[in-house]
């Protein structure tokens, strides 16, 4: 009688040392439906999927396929049951063709020789049936991210998977590609496939999903029909309180120019072309300028060049009237540049250092914290750390002496923001400052950026999140393949227009 469920996970509990990752979670996926799994980072979505794939064994609870109880010990068991997944980071062999990637692991052979013709026929058939356009002979490294994703989907279909899991599939796509993916997902569902759609983007869930299950802090909150629900209700379920989506801010009052970038180029480490090519723009006091773009279009290299982590190949950077084009990192930092880095574990923190030592990472050498003989002034470092912890509400187990490693991602980010903002910079460079943070922490970060703007600082935001790009800045610059291809006003532009620029389909004639 439960036969209308393709897969059921009933009362799943999975514990790790110190944390209950999944606490009595029930997820029932109907045949032919698109079912969204919603939750913040750390809510337990990944753990639940790992249990379904046999990567973890649940301590309690059962999994049923077509109403029959099954045991999934490893991913092979999951495959045998027809469960397939498109991972957030694709699992493709770059130098293989699309077709080779699709048949990888289930190659049709005869006497030890590959039989690709038959495979090709099946792939073409599937791609026609579901509208998944791919070129079977193109190499993965040459095709767009969207086509790579379609290759991943075809991989699942080729294996006759009935249950398809999409793990945050839209993170790497342009708005146009997202629309196309939504259509594909609906097609698949209409053909009888059951889809589990993991996301924390409410708009997409409302647009495509039939039902939505919400997790929070490892607990099952509920399952709702999306047509009877609203983004506000879903977000309240996800966060546990209502959240404002819009960043409150006054109109900008730009002042003098703080950052002037002229014809800047940065060489690429991966290939011969420049990663950043001939970029010029200015940022003034009292405004937030956002560099938008799809991941991997030169934003990281641009920031490395700007902050001094990589040398410039060409061009000039003027910071508050001072030419810092070839200045060392320390000089840029002590002359008005603060940098909230993209990767807080790689650059932002020394994870094995205590919180207080991390809070003085940019200032430990100042006479305030080091005496003439080269000894650290431990008492002052402690007092300084305590003040920042208090002002920025950085929460940790043992206060200033907590190891940075033991803190949650949101509080690590707060610590970095406290450190960089308290330096009282002229220019604050914030690179994906909300990456991996939950809704509450995102609100905090956005508020701080606007506060800095209102205090007369220049703020340069580099972001991949469309909502952030539309909401936070006063001006948007779009970066595509290492160049600035357009300037947009967030008040007048639309996500569609932004998407066209981001995908390289549209560009302004003049550089900004």
């Amino acid at each position: 009688m439960d036969a209308d469920y393709a897969i059921e996970m009933l009362h799943i509990t999975k514990r790790f040392p110190g944390i209950v990752a999944n606490d009595d979670i029930t997820l029932q996926l109907r045949r032919g439906e698109i079912h969204a799994l919603l939750g913040e980072n750390g809510a337990g979505k990944s753990t639940l999927m790992s249990v379904l794939f046999g990567l973890y064994q649940a301590e309690e609870g059962v999994i049923k396929k077509d109403g029959r109880e099954v045991v999934i010990r490893d991913p092979n068991d999951a495959n045998a049951l027809g469960i397939g997944m498109v991972h957030q980071h694709f699992k493709l062999v770059e130098c293989f063709s699309v077709l080779d990637n699709i048949i990888l692991g289930v190659e049709p052979t005869k006497n030890g020789f590959l039989q690709k013709d038959e495979a090709r026929r099946k792939v073409v058939e599937l791609s026609d049936k579901y509208g998944l356009q791919v070129d079977p002979d193109a190499l993965i490294e040459d095709i767009t991210v969207g086509m790579q994703q379609r290759t991943e989907i075809l991989k699942m279909l080729y294996r006759d998977n009935e249950i398809l899991i999409f793990d945050e599939p839209t993170a790497v796509l342009t708005p146009q590609e997202i629309d196309e993916l939504m259509k594909i997902m609906k097609n698949l569902a209409a053909e009888g496939k059951s889809i589990l759609f993991i996301s924390h983007k409410l708009a997409e869930i409302m647009a495509v999903a039939d039902r939505c299950t919400v997790l929070r802090k490892g607990k099952y909150i509920g399952t709702v029909e999306t047509k009877d629900s609203s983004p506000e209700e879903l977000s309240a379920m996800m966060v546990g309180r209502s959240v404002s989506f819009h960043v409150e801010k006054k109109p900008a009052e730009p002042g003098e120019v703080v950052l002037d970038v002229e014809h800047m180029s940065v060489a690429s480490r991966a290939h011969k072309k420049d990663a950043v090519h001939d970029v010029s723009f200015q940022v003034r006091r009292g405004e937030i300028v956002c560099i938008a773009g799809i991941d991997g279009n030169g934003q990281s290299e641009f920031v490395y060049g700007l902050t001094g982590l990589e040398p410039l190949r060409e061009g000039k950077i003027v910071l508050a009237g001072r030419d810092v084009s070839h200045a060392p990192i320390r000089e840029r930092s002590t002359h008005g540049m603060s940098h909230i880095p993209e990767d807080r574990h790689k650059h932002g923190l020394v994870l094995d250092y205590t919180l207080e030592d991390n809070l003085v990472l940019q200032r430990y050498f100042e006479p305030e914290f080091t005496n003439g003989a080269g000894f650290l002034r431990r008492d002052r470092i402690r007092a300084y750390a305590e003040r920042l912890i208090d002002e920025y509400d950085v929460r940790s187990g043992q206060g200033p002496i907590t190891a940075a490693r033991a803190m949650s991602g949101g509080n690590q980010q707060k610590a970095i923001i406290a450190r960089e903002v308290d330096k009282d910079p002229d220019l604050l460079v914030a690179v994906q400052p909300t990456r991996g943070l939950d809704v509450g922490a995102i609100e905090f970060v956005h508020r701080k950026l606007v506060e800095q703007r209102d205090a007369g600082k220049a703020v340069l935001l580099i972001s991949l999140e469309l909502d952030e790009v539309m909401d936070v800045p006063d001006r948007i610059l779009v970066m595509y393949e290492g160049e600035i291809v357009g300037e947009l006003d967030p008040k007048t532009t639309t996500q569609e227009e932004l998407g066209l620029y981001m995908a390289g389909a549209k560009r302004d004639g003049v550089s900004v």
Binding site: R15, F16, P17, G18, I19, V20, D23, N41, G42, T307, G308, L309, P328, I329, R330, E331, R332, S333, T334, H339, P341, K346, H347, G348, L349, V350, L351, D352, Y353, D357, L361, Q362, Y364, F365, T370, G374, F375, L376, R378, R405, M407, S408, G409, Q412, G436
Partner: protein
């Protein structure tokens, strides 16, 4: 939620327990090997290793031989500090062995060929080691050559260069360098009357207290100074160090210069006591630098712990010489002490095992009290 403080959670206590466990395991393993070779004398042999100078019945002889063990502890401690210092900055200074060799060579040559007094000899050794360390540092910083590879190669280059150079100052009839006598006796480190405390053991010199002072200085530099803060940050996360504007290339070179100087000073601390002479026909790099690696880990990578670890390793190495040679071949002492030293390398592993053991037990305890779970933990 207040938890009962677990004594085993303290880092220092964990290091101590891990080190002691290693020692016990090493001795046990050594005993088993002895049992296999000749069960009759095994118990006595392992006791000889542990007893070292207590083998002697007379107290004066005991103290005198205790002094000998200390004489050999000072150079090992310096090598261990060299390894430890570099390790804190994320570098594995296996080149300590070679730096020890060039330090020994420089001070011996200055003493025997030029009749320098002990202080300039010592300073020359430091200089030689610093330059030798800088070579590894420069290669690492500017050419990205792994410090282990260049360190090992320089160990051999150092050994044969030392053999070649010291052949000029060796005794006519033996492969050993001349004793520090006559004009060269000015190069012997002063003892400041300490020999009287050790039943007239004239090899006991300022090298011993000096090495302990240096260990304390290293501890202070690493923990309390701006330099230490920078160096440890570079070692823990060199990307973050670069991001914060630290001169990581300079830090790498500086670290290896200091590490090289420390190991080379170890060489001076042994050869300027006249306790041993250099054999110019030796064809393997002296083990002092390599044992320094074991001593650094056995000491829990703490300069103070390293003092005790260095002493222990020399204690069993010297003690190995007292094993009954009629029952066991003469190599047995080296075998037993190297087994124990080998086990010492497992200190970090045992610490890890202790840690996970505690975590698992706490997890079980928590599951028994269900209401305690839920609100803790979080994403990273």
């Amino acid at each position: 939620m207040k938890e009962k403080k677990n004594l085993f959670k303290s880092n220092a206590v964990q290091s101590l327990i891990a080190s002691l466990l290693c020692i016990v395991l090493g001795l046990l393993l050594g005993y088993i090997v002895l049992l296999f070779i000749n069960p009759a004398g095994a118990g006595e042999a392992i006791m000889a290793v542990v007893k070292n100078f207590w083998t002697y019945s007379k107290q004066t002889a005991q103290i005198k031989n205790f002094g000998n063990t200390l004489v050999k502890t000072a150079p090992l401690l310096m090598c261990a500090l060299s390894v430890l210092f570099a390790y804190k900055v994320g570098l594995f200074n296996i080149g300590a062995a070679g730096q020890y060799v060039v330090g020994s060579c420089a001070c011996l040559y200055a003493a025997l060929a030029w009749h320098w007094s002990w202080l300039p000899c010592m300073l020359l050794a430091i200089l030689a080691g610093a330059v030798y360390g800088a070579l590894v540092g420069l290669l690492k910083a500017y050419c990205n050559v792994n410090e282990v590879i260049s360190g090992i190669m320089l160990n051999w280059i150092g050994l044969y260069a030392a053999n070649m150079l010291l052949a000029n100052v060796k005794e006519a009839t033996s492969p050993y360098t001349m004793h520090l006598t006559g004009a060269a006796s000015a190069a012997i480190l002063p003892s400041l009357g300490m020999e009287k405390l050790f039943s007239g053991n004239k090899y006991v010199t300022i090298a011993i207290p000096l090495s302990i002072v240096i260990a304390v200085v290293i501890l202070i530099v690493l923990d309390k100074t701006k330099l230490g803060y920078e160096l440890r940050a570079t070692g823990n996360n060199k990307n973050a160090a670069k991001y914060a504007g630290m001169a990581e290339k300079r830090n790498i070179i500086l670290t290896l210069v200091i590490a090289g100087a420390l190991a080379a000073l170890g060489g001076a601390f042994l050869y300027l006591t006249n306790y041993e002479q250099w054999s110019v026909t030796q064809s393997s790099v002296p083990g002092m630098g390599f044992n320094g690696i074991a001593a650094a880990f056995l000491g829990g990578l703490n300069p103070i712990g390293t003092i005790f670890a260095s002493y222990f390793i020399q204690h069993i190495t010297v003690g190995g010489a007292y094993v009954d040679k009629t029952m066991y071949s003469s190599q047995i002492s080296d075998l037993i002490s190297s087994l124990i030293i080998y086990l010492c390398g497992f200190t970090l592993f045992i610490k890890y095992a202790v840690n996970t053991g505690i975590a698992r037990r706490e997890e079980k305890a928590r599951q028994k009290t269900p209401q305690a779970s839920g609100e803790e933990g979080g994403d990273k």
